[in-house]
């Protein structure tokens, strides 16, 4: 590779930022189009119980200043959103952005915590079987990873609640968000543990990391390092661990967020997932739109971080 073709890191990073911005623009368009195409319109709701004629509807539209063309509507909505105005919830009448920020913190605790749990379980299994091949010791753990990845996560949640209710005498009704209560930490840890084990990604993390680490360990430079007596771990760390692990974390963020919707429901955890569920029940458009966009921002942010790590480790890639 010619040195001239290596582009500066700053340029690569700004390119990634531009791609992220462009994708988020696309995300907003998709969300808008889905809601635009949906049957029924808010005017029927506002004029409910009255004589609904086309004239009344038109009058309402003009009185509220709703533009006719879809792209004007979209740009207006986008402009509002960029100024931090995500609209107000139809059900509660509260501003959507504030609500999402309020409950989003809880979802972040849950998702980041459970991501750590997943990694704590998966990484040792993966590294052990990459290093030693399948052995009697790590095979049962690999199978365990397959089993928990196939479990419905809410059923796992019920089992855990049941066990804790019986052995510790804690009643599930108490699984509310209460830090100050005695054993408050348990209410935090249980959902995190359940989502971390049961989000269905453990077997994939094990598999991906094992393949990547195994591939790197078979490389010539590792053989050289081994011959020299140098640390194999230090030599294989970047390519065999850092890059695959950021890649798998970034690509699993959507799954964990999706799992959070279910786990928050099981444990009454007041997060974005429960809010999305409630909004879908009530057809509360502004909320579900806001959550879809917030989730997409989280996913894109994760991918951006992964790209940054990748570029830092290997600036030749573009």
């Amino acid at each position: 590779m010619k040195l001239a073709s290596v582009r500066p890191v700053a340029l690569l990073l700004s390119r990634e930022l531009a791609i992220t911005a462009l994708l988020l623009l696309g995300v907003s368009l998709v969300v808008f189009v889905v809601l635009y195409l949906s049957p029924g319109d808010p005017f029927s709701l506002l004029l409910e119980g009255q004589m609904v004629t086309a004239v009344a509807r038109e009058g309402m539209r003009q009185a509220l200043g709703v533009p006719r063309a879809w792209y004007t509507q979209y740009l207006l909505w986008l402009g509002n959103m960029l100024q931090g105005n995500f609209g107000t919830s139809i059900r509660t009448g509260l501003p959507v952005l504030n609500e999402i920020v309020r409950v989003g913190i809880n979802t972040l605790y849950l998702t980041i915590g459970s991501m750590l749990v997943t990694l704590l379980v998966a990484v040792p299994i993966a590294l052990s079987s990459a290093r030693r091949g399948t052995t009697l010791l790590n095979w049962p753990f690999t199978m365990f990873a397959y089993v928990v990845s196939a479990l419905p996560v809410f059923w796992l949640g019920y089992i855990v609640i049941y066990i804790f209710m019986h052995t510790f005498g804690l009643f599930p009704i108490l699984f509310r968000f209460s830090r100050d209560q005695e054993l408050g930490w348990l209410y935090f840890l249980l959902p995190i543990f359940v989502l971390g084990i049961g989000n269905g990604t453990i077997s994939e993390v094990v598999r991906f990391l094992r393949e990547e680490m195994g591939r790197v360990l078979a490389e010539d430079y590792i053989r050289t390092a081994r011959a020299k007596g140098a640390s194999i771990w230090a030599h294989s760390f970047k390519e065999g661990f850092l890059i695959p692990i950021t890649e798998i974390i970034a690509s699993k963020i959507p799954f964990i967020l999706g799992g959070a919707v279910v786990v928050e429901q099981v444990f009454n955890w007041p997060g974005m997932g429960r809010m999305a569920w409630q909004a879908a029940q009530d057809r509360d458009y502004p909320v579900i739109m806001g959550i879809a966009i917030a989730a997409a921002i989280l996913v894109r942010f994760g991918t951006l971080l992964q790209r940054v790590v990748y570029i830092m480790v290997n600036p030749r890639s573009s």
Partner: protein, 297 residues
């Protein structure tokens, strides 16, 4: 669906030995288990469609509410309105079979089509397709489904169409990677040199000879995905609705009795889900290792 790191950079070598003679016994055991599960699923579908069940899955026996497993006439017991759990389990597969196939069909056709387009043409088309794939990947699947449910209606076919669509990016990137890799190979160059049409090269030499295993594996994993998604949605109340049985809504309905120590109405379907999804995962992984060749380390 899963992305396999090694799949795209591999051309299977011609070998006199059939693949099952080269494979490790463990991989064969995985595949055998997976095929057994597949056979069970198909058999249950046929049994359910032909109405050959131990009992009528909708028949309520109010004398026998929550009968434990092993009760005479009810092998797996009865649920909270006295319906036979075994029959409902068998019929429950109906909820996944056709919708799941729809999801798989969407993912395979769109993924292959756009994958070929992006891989074979490259350039601007590739950029546009990659952008669209990244766009789909930006949404958590469950959030996207909730959005669709809020906007339209909680219909299982809508939901499975979304599942199919969200699986397109994985397939697309696999097919694209494979084609970009194969395009440089001598045999494709030779095919162009002897004047074969692009259509013949793509359909026969690339897709049929080199991508069919990828498609089979992804179809297997797609079924597992469809079942898991339907289960989560049933739990959330947006999946298949009672009284039509699906494994998801059976677990959900039974879970209310879990806290009273009556575990069987939710455990039986949960185990069915566990066994089936593990079967599809192991089938996919086993086939992948056997047919696509695991990197020897």
């Amino acid at each position: 669906m899963r992305r396999y790191s090694q799949v795209s950079r591999h051309v299977p070598e011609y070998s006199e030995l059939p693949f099952w003679k080269k494979a490790a016994p463990m991989e064969l055991a995985y595949v055998a288990y997976g095929l057994l599960v597949l056979a069970l699923v198909v058999a249950s579908y046929i049994l359910g469609a032909a109405n050959l069940l131990p009992r009528d899955p909708q028949e309520m026996d109010l004398q026998l509410l929550m009968a434990p497993p092993g009760t005479a006439g009810h092998l797996l017991g009865t649920d909270f309105v006295g319906r036979d759990i075994l029959s409902r389990l068998i019929v429950g597969i109906q909820a996944y079979f056709l919708p799941g196939l729809l999801a798989i069909a969407i993912a395979l056709t769109l993924g292959t089509f756009f994958g070929v387009l992006a891989g074979y043409r490259g350039g601007r088309i590739d950029t546009a397709i990659t952008y669209a794939a990244n766009l789909i990947d930006s949404f958590p699947r469950l959030v996207l489904i909730l959005l669709i449910v809020a906007a339209f209606k909680p219909d299982i076919y809508y939901i499975m169409a979304v599942v199919g669509l969200t699986n397109v990016p994985v397939l697309l990137s696999l097919i694209k990677g494979k084609i970009q890799f194969l395009k440089e190979k001598d045999f494709i160059e030779a095919a162009i040199a002897i004047g074969l049409k692009s259509r013949a090269i793509i359909l026969k030499h690339i897709l049929w000879y080199n991508c069919r295993t990828v498609l089979i594996i992804q179809a297997t994993l797609g079924m597992a995905e469809a079942i898991l998604i339907e289960t989560s949605l049933s739990y959330l109340g947006f999946g298949v609705q009672e009284p039509t049985p699906s494994w998801g809504n059976m677990v959900q309905a039974g879970a209310n009795y879990f806290m009273q120590g009556k575990f069987w109405p939710s455990t039986a379907p949960a185990l069915a889900i566990l066994i089936t999804i593990m079967g599809f995962h192991l089938l996919g992984d086993g086939l992948n290792n056997i047919l696509e060749g695991k990197r020897s380390s």
